[in-house]
């Protein structure tokens, strides 16, 4: 493949799922799942080709319509974007197969069956996320954020049940506040810097106070959408009331898209403007999220609420990355910068696979047992062995037990906290892992315990179980193959110093 072939592929990563969404919308209901899955596979191939291309040829730019910035819109592909594109595609395929079987079995349809709208909505959501990963233009990003946000809410209310509708309206309002705060920030940025392209804005960033305000508005808007504590209030209800494949998509992928932007802005646009105090504050919110989200997960009685609160906690780990990479000039070459960078991104990857698997597995428990109450899921290990195994594997990665992706992430973050002297994050990481172990083992203990209260189980299609297991296996496998992922991640982004591999391999 030549470098010139990469430009159309970048456009394809957005255009293919968009075309799929349109096709799925226009075709009769019975065709939608097949067409949706077909376009999903095409998108997967496009993103893999992009990952291969960026490995061979390095970072790429595409000027849409041949117009160069400041007038035109630029798409930018580098290792970070490729990793997030590939993560989305790898989660999308098992979740898509699960969704097809789930809806074909007549699950999740309420009084009015709208579940066939899953495919158009999901593909347009995917296109929006890919657009977020590839756009290098502040306003184009706003549009992609809105595409992602609105289609995500539409998916969340797919069941048409009242709890989902109420949670969905709250989610939509929070998403609107987030994106409008972002838009206000974009307006101020454009007013001061006179540009929308990320590279041009980065050049214009100086100490002017309007740019500080704009930066604050951009970041707060994205934090609402990433559900960073204390702006997470909308997440647990919305993610737990959605149908299982949708919950998996929302919790594993959608919140990562805005986190990705926070990260990109932080290191590429605001690089010279962010202070150490601001980064410590972000880390503090992350730490609070870890403790609060994980504690809340321990207290929940309903399986899906446990997993949803767990997302609030696990997202907190991502934000520990910011204080660790924001340092004064004396530490500009320090090795821990790369460890922290890799650890934070690994957390995003490992959490995506593990959380998607957990939501799919819990969805299977709920179908089989007929209840979302955690006390009802007893004595499952002999009767649903594959799903219980998937839940265990995914839980292992979430806790951070070796040899899993979650272990690599938390290990590298821990190493960076000690090496950088910011030891105060270490107890939070450890406490977060223990709290996570608490709620994961709480569910597993029930699943393993023989019980007189055991009810006959409903039959669950094998395909559902295989999809949940596949994602759990991915969450473990990336712990073994960290070398390849990190090589891809390091292309064209800061902190690309090759990290000493010791400790990254279990």
């Amino acid at each position: 493949m030549t470098a010139a072939a990469l430009s159309p592929l970048m456009a394809a990563a957005v255009a293919v799922p968009t075309a799929g969404a349109l096709a799925a919308f226009l075709l009769p209901n019975r065709w939608r799942a097949a067409v949706g899955l077909g376009f999903s596979v095409l998108t997967l191939l496009a993103t893999f080709a992009l990952a291969a291309g960026v490995t061979l040829h390095g970072p790429q730019d595409l000027f849409l319509g041949g117009w160069a910035p400041p007038l035109g819109i630029r798409l930018h592909l580098d290792g970070l974007a490729a990793v997030f594109l590939a993560m989305t595609a790898l989660v999308a395929i098992p979740v898509g197969i699960y969704a097809r079987t789930f809806f074909a079995a007549g699950e999740g349809s309420g009084s009015t069956d709208q579940t066939h709208l899953f495919w158009p909505l999901w593909l347009i959501l995917w296109a929006g996320m890919n657009g977020v990963y590839l756009s290098a233009d502040l306003f184009n990003l706003y549009v992609m954020i809105e595409v992602t946000g609105i289609s995500a809410v539409a998916l969340a209310v797919l069941s048409g049940k009242v709890p989902a509708l109420t949670a969905g309206l709250r989610y939509l309002l929070a998403a609107l506040v987030g994106s409008l705060s972002y838009l206000m920030g974009v307006a101020l940025m454009y007013g001061t810097a006179g540009a929308l392209d990320l590279a041009l804005v980065a050049e214009a960033m100086d100490r002017q106070w309007t740019l500080r305000v704009a930066m604050g508005l951009l970041l707060v808007g994205l934090m609402v959408k990433t559900a960073l504590f204390p702006l997470h209030f909308w997440l647990p209800a919305a993610h737990s009331a959605a149908l299982p494949p949708v919950s998996a998509i929302l919790s594993a992928l959608v919140v990562k898209a805005t986190f990705y932007l926070i990260l990109r802005f932080w290191v590429e646009v605001f690089e010279g403007s962010v202070t150490i105090a601001a980064s410590q504050a972000m880390g503090g919110l992350g730490a609070a999220a870890i403790l609060w989200g994980s504690y809340q997960a321990l207290r929940q009685e309903r399986l899906k609420l446990i997993v949803a609160h767990s997302t609030v906690g696990q997202l907190g780990f991502l934000f520990l990355l910011l204080p660790l990479i924001t340092v004064d000039a004396t530490a500009a070459e320090a090795p821990w910068l790369a460890w922290a960078w890799h650890g934070g991104i690994y957390q995003a990857l490992a959490h995506a696979f593990a959380k998607a698997s957990l939501f799919l597995a819990v969805g299977i428990f709920v179908i089989a047992v007929g209840s979302d109450d955690r006390r009802a899921s007893v004595d499952l290990v002999g009767r649903l062995p594959m799903t219980t195994f998937a839940f265990g594997l995914a839980g292992m990665s979430l806790i951070g037990l070796p040899p899993s992706g979650g272990f690599v992430a938390k290990w590298m973050l821990l190493k960076a906290t000690f090496a950088s002297g910011q030891w105060w994050w270490a107890p939070v990481i450890v406490a977060g892992s223990f709290l996570t172990a608490g709620y994961v083992f709480g569910i597993l203990r029930q699943a393993f315990a023989p019980s007189e209260r055991r009810q006959p189980l409903r039959q669950v299609p094998k395909t559902l179980e295989i999809c949940a297991l596949a994602l759990a296996v991915l969450a473990i496998l990336i712990g073994f193959r960290s070398e390849e992922v990190l090589t891809l991640l390091d292309i064209g982004v800061p902190f690309a110093e090759p990290a000493p591999p010791e400790g990254s391999e279990p």
């Binding site: 809105e146 539409a154 509708l165 969905g168 309206l169 309002l173 609107l176 705060s181 838009l183 307006a187």
Partner: protein
């Protein structure tokens, strides 16, 4: 010193933004919340339009206009979606705000 008209409009965006933000969090009624979100959007559009009016030599700057048009399209669809959700909740439960007893 006299401020130019577009500067006054640009400054007005700040209180408008604050009104929308307080409204969307403080109000319980669905409609009030949605209207507050619309005000929030209007503040961003007002700022963009005011920015476009700055003298760029050859008339107004077209880029913020393009952004506002796109923004309005998004805002209208989002508001329509929010209103549909609110209406469905009201039909199913009789509730017209968060935290109401059905």
């Amino acid at each position: 010193m006299t401020a130019e008209a577009h500067e006054i409009y640009a400054l007005l965006a700040a209180p408008l933004f604050a009104v929308g933000l307080v409204g969307v969090f403080a109000c319980r009624h669905f409609l009030k919340k949605i209207i507050a979100a619309k005000i929030l959007g209007a503040s961003a559009f007002l700022l963009l339009i005011a920015l476009a009016a700055r003298d760029h030599g050859e008339g107004p700057d077209p880029v913020p206009h393009a952004m506002v048009i796109t923004g309005i399209v998004v805002a209208v669809s989002a508001a329509a979606f929010a209103l549909t959700l609110a209406r469905r909740i009201w039909q199913e439960t009789g509730q017209s705000g968060f935290g109401e007893k059905p």
